[in-house]
Point group: C2
Chain length 429, copies 2
C-alpha cells in the first residue's frame, strides 16, 4: 500500500499472508479442474473451518461458534466493553467454483486482524474490537435459502428454521453441521458498529473501466421462486402420448418461458432456472414430479414486481401444457436497498488515500453484507474479476488487485477500530 | 384352471403360492405409497434375491449366479443331459413402481416349477429340465442399458461392458453386485430350447377388449439416445443474459422438441425424455452441463428411422438456442421383431385349453424375452393391467387374471418340459 503520513494508520501490509491463506484454503475441496467444491457443511467445508478456527486461536482470538455454525473470532484491541467492528464473508462454495468467492473476504479479514494486532503491539490504541466472521451457507448451493448464517445473525430466521433446511438428499443443516463438528452453542457477539466485506466483483464493470476498487451503494433486488410440477408416473413405452402428464415437459416449458421473460426488460432483468430435481428421473418413466428453482433479479423494484406478476401465468401455462399441476413451494424477495453513504464515503476515502481508482457501483449477486444492512452500517468493497467469470472454476482476479482490495479493507478496518464511529467521514448512514 | 382330460397335464394349480410369493417379494423395497423401489443391485434388490435363492435351494434347484448377477435355478426333471426350458423375468424395479412388473414373472416361474415337481413326484415323466431365471437390471432405472442381464446371456454384451455400467452416483454394476453379494462366477446354463415369460400388459388393450390372455407376436422398435448439452457455468446474478450458455435451457428446448416430434406420427410414435442430470444444479448457477435420456418407440421400423433422423436437427437447434454444444453420448436401437409363431400357437392352445379368451398383440415396452429372441424360440404372455398403469405405485392386475396367466404359463411350461420340442403345435419358429 501507499504509505500515509498519519501514525494512526501505520500497519504492515499483509500481502504475503493473504496469498498464503488463499493457497491454504484453496486446498480444501480442490478439484482437478482447478476449481473448488466446498458445499456448506460437507467434510471439505469442515476442513476449511478447522483451519480457520486453528488460525484464529493461534492469533489469540476469542472463538465463538453459534447455533447455525457461524464462526466468530474476536480480537480484543480495545478492552472487553468496547464496541465491535465486524469483517468477514463465507468459506462455503458452489460446485466446481472459484477459490476467491467468499474465501477472499475471510482471508483478507484475517490479514487485517494480523495488521491491527501488529499495530497494537507497536503501541497503537483502539476504540473498538475486531470480530472476524465466517457465515454459514452463504451460497445456497447445498441448502436454500442463501445468506442463511448472516440472515440468522440479523434476526431474519430463527434457529429451528435455519437448522431444519434440507439438501436434496434430505439431510438438514443441523445434521450436516453436527457431522463436521460445527453445530455450536455460543451466543453470537454483540451487534457491531460497522460490518465490512471484501469480495470479488463477479462482473466486468471494474475491469472494463480499468478501475481497481468498487464501493457498493446498492444491490439488485431478487425474487427466488421454488415451484413444483405434479404429473403422473407412467411407462414411456405403452402409455399413450395424449394420456401423459409429464412433469419434465412442464418444467421445460417453464425454463424457456422464464428465460424469455428477461427479454421483456432488456438489460434490466436477469432470470434463471438453475436447479431442477426430477422424480423418478429414469430413462423409461414419464416424470411424476419436478422441482424447479427460479430467480428473477433487477435493479428496479417496479420491474421486479412486474416480472414476478408475469411469471405466474408463464408457470401456469407450462403446467397446463403438460397436463400437470403447479405448486408454488416458496417465494422469497430480497429488495433492492441502498448502502449507507457515510460508511461508503469512509471506504472511498481509504481507497483514495491508498492511491487507487474507485467507482461507486451496484451488486447483482447477493452477499452476506446485505443481511447485515438491517443491523448496522455496512460496507461492501469489490475488486475486479477477470472476464467477469463467477461460480466457475476459472474465476480469478489479478494478484495486485487482490492486494489493493486488502489494503483498502485493512485501512478502513483500522480507521473504524481505532476511531470507532468517529471514523465515518460524515454521518455513518 | 380348467381340468384337462390328458394325464400328461395333471398338475395342481399354485394360486395360493403365487399370491404368497407376491406378498413376500412385495415387502422388499416397499414404500409408504404402496409402491416398490427396488433398483438394481441395491440392498432391497439384494433382499429379494436372497429370498429367491433360499426358496430355489429349498425346492432342490441347482443354483447358479453368473458374472453379471443373473440368478438361475435349474430343476432336474429329466436328467442332467436333457435339454432346458427357461422361464423367468426380473426382480429389479423402477422408483416407486408396482409390485407386479417383473416380479409376477419370477414368482409365476417358481409356482410353475413347484407344479412340475409335484407332477414328477406323482409319476409324470419329462423330456426337459426347467430353469427359473431372474435377470439383472431389466429396468434400466439405475443402470443403462435396460435388459442388461438377459442381453449378456444372449451374447449382446461382454462381461466387462456389463459390469462397468455406472449409475448417476458413479457406482458400477460390478461394485453394486459385489456389495449385495451377487457378483457370481458360475457359468450360465446351456442355451434353452424355449424361453417363456409371463408379464402384466402395462397397457389397456386386454382390459378394453375384456380379454384375459395376450400372446405377444411383435414388439415396438425403440431408439434410446443419451445426449449432453455443454454450456458454461456462471453466476445467475451478474452474468449478462446474452452471454449465458445455459445447458438446462438447451435441454428444455430438446424435451419440448422431442415431445412435439411424436405429433408428426400420431399414435405410431411414442417419444419421451425421462431422465435429466444437471450440473452443478444449484439455484444460483447457470447450468454448465445437462445429460438427457431420450426414447423414440414405434411399431413401424420406417417411422422409427424417420423420427431418429428428425431428432438430430431438433437437438442441434435446442443446443444452438442456448449457445451450447450437443454431444451424442450413445444411440442404441432395438429393432421391431416378430416372435416365433410356432411357440405362440402352442401358448395360445394352452390358453384355449384353460378356457380363457386370448388375443395376439404387440408389446410397446421392452422385456427380457426380447433379448432371448435371438437365442431360442421365445414366448411372452400378457395379462390385463388395471387402467394400463405401469411404472407407477398404483399398477395392479385383478387376482383372477394373475391366476389365469399362471395357469396358461404353467400348462405351457408343462407341455414344453414333458414333450420337449414336440410340444410345439407346428414348427417352433
Amino acid at each position: 500500500m501507499k504509505s500515509t503520513s498519519s501514525g494512526v494508520e501505520a500497519f504492515r501490509p499483509e500481502a504475503a499472508l493473504l496469498h498464503g491463506l488463499l493457497r491454504r484454503f484453496g486446498k480444501f475441496g480442490a478439484q482437478t479442474s482447478g476449481g473448488i467444491t466446498r458445499l456448506c457443511a460437507t467434510p471439505a467445508d469442515g476442513e476449511a473451518r478447522h483451519f480457520l478456527v486453528t488460525w484464529l486461536k493461534e492469533q489469540g482470538a476469542e472463538l465463538r461458534i453459534d447455533a447455525v455454525g457461524n464462526i466468530y473470532g474476536i480480537f480484543n484491541l480495545a478492552g472487553p466493553d468496547a464496541p465491535l467492528v465486524m469483517a468477514g464473508s463465507h468459506l462455503d462454495s458452489q460446485i466446481d467454483a472459484g477459490r476467491l468467492d467468499g474465501t477472499y473476504g475471510v482471508a483478507a479479514a484475517c490479514c487485517a486482524a494480523q495488521a491491527l494486532l501488529d499495530a497494537r503491539r507497536a503501541g497503537a490504541s483502539f476504540e473498538a474490537n475486531l470480530c472476524i466472521v465466517n457465515w454459514t451457507n452463504e451460497e445456497g448451493a447445498r441448502f436454500r435459502p442463501s445468506l442463511l448464517g448472516s440472515g440468522y445473525f440479523a434476526g431474519e430466521h430463527d434457529t429451528d428454521y435455519a437448522l431444519s433446511r434440507t439438501d436434496d438428499a434430505g439431510f438438514s443443516i443441523g445434521q450436516a453441521l453436527e457431522a463436521i463438528g460445527f453445530r455450536g452453542s455460543d451466543p453470537p457477539p454483540r451487534m457491531p458498529i460497522a460490518y465490512l466485506e471484501l469480495h470479488i466483483e463477479q462482473g466486468t464493470l471494474l475491469a472494463e473501466r480499468n478501475e481497481t476498487i468498487g464501493i457498493v451503494l446498492r444491490n439488485w433486488g431478487a425474487v427466488k421462486l421454488e415451484v413444483a410440477f405434479l404429473g403422473e408416473q407412467a411407462h414411456t413405452g405403452p402409455c399413450p402420448m395424449e394420456r401423459r402428464r409429464d412433469a419434465l415437459l412442464a418444467a421445460s416449458h417453464a425454463v424457456i418461458g422464464i428465460r424469455d421473460l428477461a427479454d421483456s426488460f432488456p438489460g434490466a432483468l436477469h432470470t434463471s432456472a438453475g436447479r431442477i430435481v426430477v422424480s423418478p428421473n429414469s430413462a423409461n418413466v414419464v416424470p411424476a414430479r419436478t422441482e424447479l428453482s427460479i430467480e428473477l433479479r433487477s435493479t428496479d423494484e417496479d420491474i421486479l414486481t412486474e416480472a414476478t406478476h408475469a411469471a405466474r401465468p408463464i408457470l401456469l401455462a407450462a403446467a397446463a401444457n403438460a397436463r400437470t399441476e403447479l405448486r408454488v413451494i416458496s417465494e422469497k424477495r430480497r429488495r433492492a436497498v441502498t448502502f449507507p453513504i457515510g460508511l461508503a464515503e469512509t471506504i472511498e476515502q481509504c481507497a483514495v488515500d491508498c492511491g487507487y481508482s474507485v467507482r461507486r457501483m451496484e451488486t447483482v449477486s447477493g452477499h452476506d453484507a446485505l443481511s447485515l444492512l438491517n443491523c448496522c452500517p455496512t460496507g461492501l468493497i469489490f475488486v475486479p474479476s477477470i472476464d467477469g467469470l463467477s461460480h466457475n472454476a476459472a474465476e480469478d482476479t489479478d494478484p495486485s488487485d487482490l492486494e489493493a482490495g486488502l489494503n483498502v479493507f485493512t485501512l478502513a478496518l483500522s480507521r473504524l477500530c481505532r476511531r470507532g464511529t468517529q471514523a465515518f467521514v460524515n454521518n455513518p448512514n
